[in-house]
Subunit: 152 residues, 2 copies
């Protein structure tokens, strides 16, 4: 896919992704390593908790969303280098069998104050499941490159 420079992006532009089905075994394996709490480890133990059944760790949802984003139509030149994340919300638990997709929407583009070759892209990254309900959403600030010709 063609790499995108700042000059190729515009506010309101949207980029889709492929999809990924989350399996119960991955939910519990991720949790055992990074978020070992009953509601992420065991469906039976999860029944008596806030979640009412096995649910993926929010950090697992964020990590799967990262993979979908990297493989998506959004291909900034120089890669996706995140500077910061705001408004990260887990709106709905991710359950075994959920099929996730990611959409990127450009919210703002600006020149870097310090680096003339760089700019900053502000984008909303939204993860939905198979019924198009939002499971996660956040605002990402990432570095992007100006098209080299523009600086000659």
């Amino acid at each position: 896919m063609k790499k995108q420079y700042l000059e190729d992006m515009s506010v309101g532009q949207k980029f889709g992704s492929g999809s990924y089905v989350v399996e119960a075994g991955e939910i519990t394996a991720f949790a055992a390593e990074f978020d070992p709490q009953p509601f992420h480890l065991d469906d039976q133990a999860a029944r008596d908790t806030f979640f009412g059944g096995l649910a993926a760790s929010g950090w697992h949802t964020a990590s799967i969303s990262s993979r979908l984003l990297i493989d998506s139509e959004f291909q900034p030149a120089g890669g996706i280098v995140g500077l910061s994340v705001d408004e990260l919300r887990w709106k709905k638990p991710v359950r075994p069998g959920d099929e996730l997709r990611v959409e990127t929407e450009i919210l703002e583009l600006r020149r870097s104050r310090s680096k003339p070759t760089h700019g900053v892209v502000k984008a909303r990254i939204t993860t939905t499941e198979q019924n198009e309900e939002v499971v996660q959403s956040y605002v990402l600030h990432l570095l992007a490159l100006h098209r080299p010709e523009a600086n000659d």
Copy 2:
């Protein structure tokens, strides 16, 4: 460790964690699954990038921080159920051999508007490396339980 109810927490309170050394092999394994970009996958390929050498994915740093948090002195009754994250900043790349720790500072405590048994804790979660430089910081809103006696 004794589980903490809202009544056991106060603004300004701090909770420490153990430490965790991040190995190069874990950085590249996490990246291969969740953030396959050259600067997270291969030290040689990373040299020509923004990072100047192998660096952990920000989502890996967040996930390791989650594990340190779960095992830390901060032990809310009912577990750590994150509702949202704001101001997530990756201030310094995490490199192979870095030894990470997490500190939780309570910023705000409030009653839940909808659930009388619950409240919301606002806390800053800061991850530092072996030289006490901050590598990551965020503000977490999480559910917490009132001590049951208070509701009798």
